[in-house]
């Protein structure tokens, strides 16, 4: 490699002590040093002009790919019953084994972690990754890291997915992704500790909870609440609004109200009593209450919350892509979707589940009946029109530059 050769010269240039030639060598060394510096560079994968794939991309990707007997899934914590009953049933039905790992805690780190491997065209060890519709979704898509889905192989999805989920703004026509579940970002709290009902975002700034308030470290999640508390719609916010929101968030920190910024670990902090009131994702609290007998509450704040969608996607280098599709489609069976929703308590993309869940509740007895009825009527699993009116979507950034500006406003807040 040329640059290695020149760096050899560099070392000689820096270490040789012979006078006459020294200056010449030093100049040469400096020149090759800068040449080496400039020769380094991180190749991008970007093809931003062509966000939509070529018409034959689907056929080209799937050509020659055959079914395999194993699938590796990268998911988030608290997204499935730890006993994995749905996956066991899937394996006994299809003979495909599933390795389900809860390795994703936050989108930024996940993208940064797999980016080098995907850029080097290597498998990341997972055939399915469940990714949120935020900034990183676009980064995945624009980098060409997502396989175009063969929708013909997803008959259950075609039949059972709700219409809203078939045309989401971040991936129109489900070219690269189909939803796993949606969720709401709101506030979770421990009523025993706060001593009162929590209803609004302003409560996150209440000095009474000094050192006991948690917020998300994900800049988008954090910024959304900073904007909403000021009455600004995140989707329509301007760079000036961002600065105002950042100031508001800094205030929360400088006054010592904030305990920390969290990723998925906020639920552990809530469980340990480290925070009393925190920014939270809707289903987690329910599962925490079930598994640990706690009595935490989750609310959508008066000022509004956000709604997001976590999506199945297949990395372009996945070795078991065909079986991955089989598994994805399996989750769109109404019975399976019902079981999943009943356990994880997140918004399901399969509307038929509500009816099924009511039937199941009617047939069940005791505690099961109570839980199932509660889930079937929960606005967190089946939000009503009124609920949706209070919920905002993530902001779509038009260009990487716009996102970078956004990051440079909120990143120093989180890391300050």
């Amino acid at each position: 490699m040329n640059s290695l050769h020149s760096s050899g010269q560099l070392w000689r240039g820096m270490t040789q002590r012979r006078l006459g030639r020294r200056d010449a060598l030093r100049m040469g060394g400096l020149a090759s040093f800068s040449a080496f510096l400039a020769a380094c560079g991180v190749k991008g994968q970007g093809n931003p002009g062509a966000s939509a794939p070529a018409p034959d991309a689907v056929a080209k990707f799937w050509e020659g790919k055959t079914a395999t007997k194993h699938v590796d899934v990268a998911s988030w914590p608290l997204y499935m019953d730890p006993k994995q009953p749905e996956l066991k049933a899937f394996t006994s039905e299809t003979g495909i084994t599933v390795n389900y790992q809860e390795v994703i805690q936050e989108m930024g780190p996940w993208f940064a972690k797999v980016q080098p491997q995907l850029a080097a065209k290597q498998p990341i060890g997972f055939d399915i990754q469940i990714i949120t519709n935020g900034v990183q979704f676009k980064q995945f898509k624009d980098s060409g890291f997502l396989a175009p889905l063969d929708l013909a192989k997803l008959p259950n999805y075609a039949k059972n997915a709700g219409p809203a989920y078939k045309n989401e703004a971040f991936d129109p026509g489900n070219v690269y992704s189909v939803p796993w579940t949606s969720g709401i970002t709101g506030i979770a709290y421990d009523p025993a500790k706060t001593g009162r009902e929590i209803t609004k975002l302003a409560d996150l700034w209440d000095p009474k909870f000094k050192g006991k308030v948690g917020m998300f470290s994900d800049t988008q999640e954090l910024a959304n609440f900073g904007l909403l508390v000021l009455g600004i719609d995140p989707g329509k916010s301007t760079p000036d609004d961002w600065k105002k929101a950042a100031d508001k968030l800094k205030e929360q920190k400088s006054q010592g109200i904030l305990r920390n910024y969290y990723d998925q670990s906020y639920i552990d902090a809530l469980g340990k009593g480290e925070v009393w009131i925190t920014q939270a994702w809707s289903g987690d609290v329910f599962q925490k209450n079930v598994s640990e007998g706690k009595n935490f509450k989750f609310i959508i704040p008066e000022e509004g919350g956000t709604i997001w969608t976590d999506n199945f996607s297949i990395p372009i280098t996945a070795p078991n892509a065909v079986s991955a599709l089989t598994l994805i489609d399996y989750f769109y069976r109404p019975e399976v979707a019902t079981d999943v929703a009943a356990y994880i308590n997140y918004v399901t993309p399969v509307p038929a589940t509500q009816e099924l869940m009511k039937q199941k509740a009617a047939a069940a007895t005791g505690d099961d009946k109570k839980t199932l009825t509660a889930v079937a009527e929960s606005p967190l699993v089946f939000p009503t029109e009124a609920d949706y009116a209070k919920l905002h979507y993530y902001r779509n950034f038009a260009t990487p530059a716009e996102y970078q500006d956004f990051q440079r406003v909120f990143e120093p807040v989180v890391l300050g």
């Binding site: 914590p77 797999v114 980016q115 080098p116 850029a119 469980g271």
Partner: protein, 260 residues
């Protein structure tokens, strides 16, 4: 003498302070907690020792860590012994530079080493995984092995080698039959050091791992929702093995030291 009494007590207080978190870790491996969340004491049980390999991902992470640590010990052992032997035995031009690099590699912040390796790998378009982790671990272990071996070579009694040469042994034979057995204990402890550094490393690994998960990385990720008791059990077992090896090698090397 009153002073020394106070210092004696103080030393034991420090030892207790150092040991407290380890004691807590060991204790919670025996905690009869109903599920995954291991925070409050629920009673004594041995069941987690029976289910120590009950979490596939954790077991796999431990295996990955072991494989990397063995690779590191072997490769860094070989490369580091070369450098250490050369520095201890020969006077040569450039030995100062080698010393300087060894020193720099030992004193550079781990964070910067990990981060700079990541920049190398992304600049070269190399994907991350077991290979890149091993490369990194070997890199930071070489200096430690070198220094250990060099220290031994410097104190070596050269008359033994001279005697071998007098008896007609070639340089090569002398090395393998006389010198190598003499420095072998140092090579062994250097390799053990490399193994220990590797299996415990979090910072550099975090930068060079990609989606590969080692034992410390798994623990780090799992704290997000609560550590399962299996982690305490594995921590306890690793602790026990480490202590055992240290005690045994200490006992074995003691008489030799007395003679020297």
């Amino acid at each position: 003498m009153r002073n020394s009494r106070a210092l004696h007590i103080y030393t034991w207080v420090v030892v207790a302070w150092l040991t407290l978190p380890v004691a807590v870790m060991i204790a919670f491996g025996f905690n009869d907690t109903p599920g995954r969340y291991n925070q409050t004491w629920e009673g004594f049980t041995l069941k987690w020792y029976g289910r120590v390999f009950g979490i596939d991902a954790l077991t796999e992470a431990l295996l990955v860590s072991l494989v990397i640590a063995i690779i590191t010990a072997v490769v860094a052992g070989a490369l580091g012994t070369g450098i250490g032997y050369a520095l201890g035995r020969y006077r040569f031009r450039g030995s100062g530079t080698v010393n300087l690099i060894l020193f720099a590699a030992m004193s550079a912040p781990e964070l910067v080493m990990g981060a700079s390796l990541l920049t190398l790998f992304v600049s070269m378009g190399v994907g991350l995984g077991v290979t890149t982790i091993s490369v990194a671990h070997i890199m930071f272990s070489i200096s430690f092995v070198s220094v250990v071996v060099r220290a031994r070579v410097l104190t070596l009694d050269r008359s033994l080698e001279e005697a071998a040469a007098d008896l007609g042994a070639t340089g090569w034979t002398t090395f393998w039959r006389v010198t190598f057995p003499l420095i072998l204990p140092a090579v062994g402890s250097g390799m053990m050091l490399a193994f220990a550094l590797s299996i415990d490393d979090f910072v550099v690994t975090n930068f060079t791992a990609g989606t590969t998960v080692t034992f410390p990385l798994w623990i780090w990720g799992a704290t997000r929702v609560g550590l399962p008791p299996q982690v305490n059990v594995m921590g306890t077992l690793i602790f026990a093995v480490g202590v055992l090896i240290a005690v045994l090698s200490g006992v074995r090397s003691r008489p030799r030291r007395r003679r020297g």
